[in-house]
Amino acid sequence: MLQALLTLLLCQFLGEIAANALALPLPGPVIGLLLLLVLLIARGGPDEPMRAASQRLLQYLSLLFVPAGVGVITQLDVLGRNWLAVALSILVSTALGVVVTGWVMARLSRPR
């Protein structure tokens, strides 16, 4: 378990270093994700502690967004001035995203 946690943190650490040193457009943790993915492919899959550690972390993923979400309190003035633009943008773009993805996928998939 400890080793799996260390692997996760090391991947993130290397990802942050790469993002900053090479000025990559990708966020550090996403580079860390890709590093771990390469590692998992090389090893033929996660060992049991890694499986358990990642499952435990991801199980609480929706709790982990809360502190950042509360940060919206510092943005209430911006949101108040732009709520209509934000609401319309999210509603229309989400509907378009659903329709385009679903339509292209249904068109290109072989029926089974």
Binding site: P29, L36, F65, V66, V78, L84, T94, V98
Partner: protein
């Protein structure tokens, strides 16, 4: 507030326990409430917990920085949790390879349309750069979305809230919209849910079909990485349009 309570409050504000206990308590309560209501899409525990804590901070006039002293211990785990997303992605690799010919074009098209139209609409309606750039990753799973927003000059907290609202919107829209278009292939329904509405919409379609859930799951990780890659290019591309550049 009496003098005694006032003293107690001054003490509590200096310890990280306040933010930590508050975050966990609000989330546990929100989850219990959502369960009691039968998990409707709009009673999302994360959203309820955020609203409760925002209200609490406003009422007690507590600064966000004070709250974050404690909440940062929860927030820190987002980094390793993002890395951990590689494990479910690895489990899906075989499925991704098998349907790559349909999956990758659909994902790319849907992802670009969702991110591009969100920026264009917000910009056309006069939203400032901070808001527009926080909307780019709104269809991406929260930990990746916040990283993207930070990287391209958006605001991670705004991004987190936009992501939540997008997920709830997609969860409500995906079924009726695709049914109206006559799309009944569960692979398409799942991929659309995961691409446009990350984990929240995927959880919704998982109730209808396991195939849909599996395709939603692969879309979440792929779309996160894909959007992180194309977001800077998309912004540069849109900068050529009139009524741009992002000055405001």
């Amino acid at each position: 507030m009496s003098v005694g309570l006032g003293h107690l409050w001054v003490y509590l504000e200096t310890t990280p326990l306040l933010g930590l206990v508050g975050t966990l308590a609000a989330y546990v309560f929100a989850e219990a409430l959502s369960r009691r209501l039968g998990h409707p899409a709009l009673a999302n525990p994360t959203l309820i917990a955020i609203l409760l804590l925002v209200l609490f901070l406003l009422v007690t006039r507590t600064a966000y920085a004070t709250y974050f002293q404690g909440a940062q211990y929860v927030h820190f785990l987002l980094g390793p949790a993002t890395v951990a997303l590689a494990v479910p992605m690895h489990a899906n690799l075989a499925q991704i390879r098998r349907s790559a010919a349909a999956l990758l074009p659909a994902l790319l098209a849907g992802s670009l349309v969702a991110a591009g139209s969100a920026m264009l609409i917000a910009r056309a309606l006069g939203a400032p750069a901070r808001v527009v750039l926080s909307l780019v990753a709104k269809s991406v799973t929260t930990p990746i979305a916040m990283g993207i927003a930070e990287r391209i000059g958006g605001q991670p907290s705004l991004a987190a809230v936009f992501v939540l609202i997008t997920g709830l919107t997609a969860a409500v829209l995906v079924g009726p919209l695709l049914r109206a278009l006559g799309i009944r292939d569960w692979r398409a329904v799942g991929l659309a849910a995961g691409t446009a509405g990350h984990g929240l919409a995927t959880a919704r379609v998982l109730l209808l079909s396991e195939t849909a859930g599996a395709f939603g799951g692969l879309a979440i990780g792929l779309n996160g990485v894909l959007t992180a890659l194309f977001a800077p290019l998309l912004i540069r591309l849109l900068a050529w349009l009139p009524a741009w550049p992002l000055g405001g």
